[in-house]
Amino acid sequence: MGKVVSLDNLLASMEARRNGAAPWLGSLLDESREKFASAGLPNRRVEAWRYSDLAKALHETVVLDVQADAPPELTGACVAAFEDGVLDNSLSSYCAMGAQPLRKVLADKDSIAANLIGKINPQHDHPIINLNTALMEEGLVLHVPKGVTLATPLHLRFNWSGVEAQGADGRHLRILIVLEEGAQATIFETHDGSPSFATIVTELSLAANSKLTHVRLENFGAAARQTAATVADIGESALYRAFYFSQGGHFARHEALLKMSGEQSHAEIDAAYLVADKRHCDNTTVFLHAAPNTSSKQTFRGVLAGAGRGVYQGCVQVAQAAQKTDAKQLSRALLLSHKAEIVTKPELEIYADDVKCSHGATAGELDANALFFLRARGIPETEARAMLVEAFLGEALDTIENEGLRELASTRAHLWLARHAGEATHVE
């Protein structure tokens, strides 16, 4: 049984954490704690959390499930293994690429993190990022020098055994990745099992001409409660290329908060989320185009079965200076059951006058004509449904360039499809 996470418990932990912190960190922790204390845990009265009420979810009791699927292994990758929220060096190999534990970096008197943490595309009023900052201890810092291309991906492997709950204040992990000019890296991030409550904030600083490929697979158990954010600053001609896969949890949210701060920078996300049973899955994006000639593309595809609930909030902001911005946003949802639900909220805030911004959102059932066509050729209904769902997802999975990663993502998707895609509660 998960212990109740309350504001009081969290604030008490922050107090304790503050007392042991390095001097340079003090003001950052104080500021984060104060802001978090005045805002409280996000709930549906806050617009950005209207469809994902974290405060309510944390009050519900959940029975932790001991996870069934083992975390994926990526051959050749350097691993940072977080077991129940703690970096486990015996399972890790991140040193090979020069990464360091956050704990060590935070304890340094003259830390390299001092100019970075909370300063990359700052989110001063984000309740979860403030919470995370005030309580962060575990995590990883990776610095890729100018012009260096990492030959192997870094696998950030978060695994939650579900054996015991993460206490009354949860676990709060912080990842910091800095790509210097022209550097290139691939990050493979996986989440397995059931944290009783975790927040993960990943800060990405991408200097001019750098390229980061980010593949993120959430494969939570039904009881998992996690809210995560990827915060990035994308410099001149730099590229952030991401694929996100998620299947929700008791409460699972991921936010991509990206700032295109240099000219010609580009961000592109393809995402697939598959939500069954009574799970909740929230994908939120805020793309800030701050410089001229920047571009972005986001395509989110959701499949909702059972009483699954999906939320997609996509906000594109174009600053006055960001002329010639080209932003494309598309949300497509497939509802396999009458009890499933999708909330789609596209937002455009445009202050420049010479821009191209498009957005589209669809939600619907499987195409009855296509389904009949397949069945009329002898393909049983369950199989025909799975084929059509797979075809819908295939377009997202095909965007993963790295073959090994594509296979791992496809395997996850196929497992889900085998369990849920044939579900049919529609009356035709």
């Binding site: 009949f372 009329a376 002898g378 075809a391």
Partner: protein, 249 residues
């Protein structure tokens, strides 16, 4: 052998077929012609078992077995094949994968052995060559970006591979120019066999110049009002549906 006995069918609560009776012996090609709204498409969808086509009375027998209550996939496995007027485009499903899934699913339902990968490839390549279908077309997503002629050739390929006992061709000539029509008709004619019946549903006589029927039935107001040999089609072409149907009544 298909036998339809006094079939009444409702679509969205409205009776469209009002006592359709028809017999197609093995090896024969029968055509159903009729004016718009006569119930031609309803006939083909009902035979294939589409949801929403509610049989209120009557029976459909295939080789003496009542198939009226079966699902589309069960009917397909029993040997019913519907060539669609407008074949569906299905992005994300490759033509090859679709063919393999369909053939294996039918084999499984009938309790037969599935083809292995090599057998499958050989079979498909041979059949595709006959119909002038390229390897490249087979790799594309099902019917996506296919021309009208390519879609109908693809339907014919499926028919060749699935070897039905009864093939229903629903307005096979829609969207085809004369060259494409000849090619498709040639493909269909090659598939004529003593143990296979065809039901050709068409509005125009033109198709029947290329796929020559043994019997022509005229469907009007949800039932067969007249049957005859192929000269009936010419009569229709000359005088129109109204005149011929009125004469019959």
């Amino acid at each position: 052998m298909l036998e339809i006995k006094d079939l009444h069918v409702n679509v969205f609560g409205k009776e469209i077929l009002k006592g359709l009776s028809l017999k197609v012996p093995p090896g024969e090609v029968h055509a159903i012609m009729g004016p718009n709204g006569a119930g031609k498409s309803t006939t083909s969808y009902t035979l294939a078992g589409r949801a929403g086509y509610e049989v209120t009375s009557g029976e459909i027998d295939l080789y003496g077995e009542d198939i009226t209550g079966l699902s589309p996939e069960e009917r397909a496995a029993k040997g019913i094949f519907l060539a669609f007027q407008y074949p569906m485009e299905i992005p994300g499903v490759s033509t090859m994968n679709f063919l393999k899934t369909a053939m294996n699913a039918q084999a499984r339902t009938r309790g037969e052995k599935e083809l292995d990968a090599a057998q499958f490839l050989r079979t498909v390549r041979a059949a595709a060559k006959e119909l002038n279908i390229s390897e490249e077309m087979l790799k594309r997503p099902l019917n996506v970006g296919f021309s009208g002629g390519e879609k109908k050739r693809n339907e014919t390929l499926q028919m060749a591979l699935l070897k039905p006992k009864l093939a229903i061709l629903d307005e096979m000539d829609s969207g085809l120019d004369i060259d494409a029509l000849k090619l498709v008709a040639e493909g269909v004619n090659k598939l004529r066999a003593p143990d296979r019946s065809f039901l050709v549903i068409t509005h125009y006589q033109r198709l029947l110049d290329y796929i020559v029927p043994d019997v022509i039935h005229i469907l009007s107001g949800g039932k067969i009002v007249m049957s005859g040999d192929k000269s009936l089609a010419l009569q229709l072409e000359e005088n129109g549906y109204d005149a011929v149907i009125n004469q019959a009544a």
